[in-house]
Each structure stands twice: as C-alpha cells, then as structure tokens.
Symmetry: C2
Subunit: 212 residues, 2 copies
C-alpha cells in the first residue's frame, strides 16, 4: 500500500515459521480487542501481549515499538478495504453512472460497517500515528479505481472529471465516518446511506448537464 513505510515504522522482521505467523495474527487480533475494550490510552504493550497469549518480548521481536504495531494494523485494514472497493469498481465497468455510485457507496459502506467495532477501534488508533502517507496511498488507490470505472460509464460524465471524482470520494469517506462516530441507530444509518447515493447521483447528473 504505502510503497515505503517510513523506516522507523516498519516491522522488525517477518515471520518465517508457521507458529510465528500465528503469533503475529494473535497480536493483531489482541490489539483490536484491547483497543475496543479499553480504549487507546489503555492500549499497552503488556496488555496486548497478555491478551494475545504471548510475552511482551515476543511483540518486540516483530515491531520496534508500539507505533509500528498500530501502523501495521492500519496498513492491513486499509488494504482490505481498498481491495473490496477496487473489486466493486471493476465489476461495474460500463454500467450506468447511477449504478456505479450505488456500487461504490455500498462497497465502501459495507467494508466499514461489516465489522464496525474494528473500524471504530482503528479510527481511534490513528491519532498520534504518523499515517498521513498511509491514508494518502489509500486515497489514491481508490481514486484510481473509481476514476477508471467512471470514465467507462455508459452515460459518462462531462466537466472536470478529476475534481468530480475527488469530491465524490471526500464526501463518501467523510459521511461514512461521520455516521459512524455518531453511532446513530441502524435504521437512520440505512436511511442516510440511501440518501447519500441519491445525492451523489444527482450531483453527477447535474455535472453532466452543466459542464458536459
């Protein structure tokens, strides 16, 4: 994802044996659980290790420090989200703009809400983490995928396509996060999601008319 994870944040070594892979997995999972159950300020190397059923020393064999662990966790997460969005985009090449927007919103929304707990945990972990590069890489990856999809639309949009696309993503990403953090009732969430699709669709339609 981020081609060059900043030196100081990159993992110490990769697992070479099977058990090491398991250990790593356990550590990641434990990190999420601690984050959820205790919050960021109680996310302690000791606590994570304990929950993962390993010793602290083991953790430090893979990560030079706590930050690196969180960084890796976010990297993994963003990677799966990006993959799902890319998949949805590819599957809708050549469709109508409306179908594309709906597919995009749904893919992103579902990737985020499917395991809402994790999403929330990671939104929290991100503070104080030098992950701007990570976010940027993610954004560009998704941007590329949606751009490619949109130009292939049967009713392709006119105007400034690049700006259109950037705006679309900023709005979708932002709205999802907002809805998330406010922890609105599921019904309201569903409603907003539906409205968000309509909003994006009408936006693109308007863009087509005025600039196209």
């Amino acid at each position: 994802m981020a081609a060059t994870p900043p030196r100081h944040l990159s993992p110490r070594k990769k697992p070479r044996q099977a058990r090491a892979t398991l250990t790593l997995e356990a550590i990641f999972e434990a990190t999420i659980q601690v984050l959820l159950a205790e919050g960021l300020h109680r996310l302690t190397t000791t606590r994570v290790a304990e929950r993962a059923g390993v010793s602290v020393g083991t953790m430090y064999q893979y990560f030079p420090h706590k930050q690196a662990l969180l960084y890796a966790l976010n990297e993994r997460y963003l990677d799966t989200v990006a993959e799902r969005v890319e998949k949805a985009c590819i599957e809708h090449h050549g469709a109508s703009t409306a179908e594309m927007v709906e597919a995009l919103v749904n893919a992103y929304w579902e990737a985020k809400t499917e395991r809402a707990d994790i999403t929330r945990a990671l939104y929290r972990s991100v503070v104080e983490l030098d992950n701007e590069a990570l976010i940027e890489a993610f954004s560009q990856r998704v941007d590329a995928a949606t751009s490619a999809m949109l130009v292939s639309a049967s009713d392709a949009v006119g105007g400034d396509r690049r700006l259109c696309n950037t705006t679309l993503l900023a709005v979708i990403f932002g709205t999802v996060r907002n809805v998330f953090e406010r922890n609105l009732p599921a019904a309201v969430q569903a409603d907003i999601r539906c409205q968000l699709v309509r909003m994006c669709v009408s936006y693109l339609a308007a863009a087509r008319l005025s600039d196209g």
Copy 2:
C-alpha cells in the same frame, strides 16, 4: 451546550476573580498550543501548566483531571462553531434553497478553517474523550437551526424533510473533516468546497422533484 456535563467531567470550580479568568484562558490556550506542537500523547498536565505560565496545582483547582480540561476545551469550541452556524441560518431565513445551502456550507467551513490548527488539534484531542454527548448536543443544535431555515425556504423542499436535513449535515460535517485530515492543498480544498455546495443543491432539487 450539553445540558449536563457528566459529573466526572465537569469543572471543579468557576473563577470568581479577574485573575482566575485570565489563568483559565491561559490554560486553554496553552492546551491548544501543546496539542499542536507536541501531539496528544505529549499533552501533559505539567507541559500545559508550564506553557500557560502557571503551576500544575493551579490547573487542578479548576479541573479534576486532564480529561475534564479537554472536555471543557471541546465544549467551548463547539459552542462557537454552533453559534456561527446558527447566525448564518437565521440570516438566511426566507432565501432560496441554493442560497441557504451555500451559506450553511460556508459558515461551517469557515468556522472550521479559520483557525485550522485549532480544529485539527481538537479533532485529535477528542479520542479517548467521552464526548459523544457533546457531539450529539452540537448536532442537534445545528440540526434545529438548519431545519428552521430550510422550511422557510422560498422554494421549500418536499419529501422527508427531517431525513433530508440529517443527511445534509452528515455529508457536510463529514466532508469537511475528511478534507481537513488529508491536508489537501488550499486550491483543491476550495474546489471541493464549491463542489460540495453544488452537490447539496442538486440533492435538494432532486428531493423536491421526486417526493415533493
């Protein structure tokens, strides 16, 4: 704002003399500065006190603990933002939907970007702060203001007004935050802001046609 700041987060006492007011102000300002210069994980009672030019003991005379300080800071901040949005809403009663949306986006955007540093600092401080109630109160306050404005529109929108309004706010709040955190170049920010207005306007127009 939040009618009942949770007991454990409410300030210890209010200033009664002039110098105490100054001290409090200095503490708040110092908190922001430390947050900006050092980040959340280095936001220390000692550091804040030092920067404010007071002693740690003094801080604890007003706040029972660090969290309460951050809580109060956010409360103040959200209050000023809400005020500005309310003002803009009132000033545009009776206008056209398009004018309203533009005024709303501008008011919120400017309230956030005018001192972008503070906004960013507070976005960070919020983690690990039990401020859901605060956010909720803010949202409802703004919701009320914008609802009142929109129903007074010369070209009032039909359909589910409540949902429309909630969506609008989720989108605007979310987008602003997203743009913020990605720290995009000013030019791009301006472009997106403009597009956001267009998007909201076309959404409302579409809502008027289909459900009205």
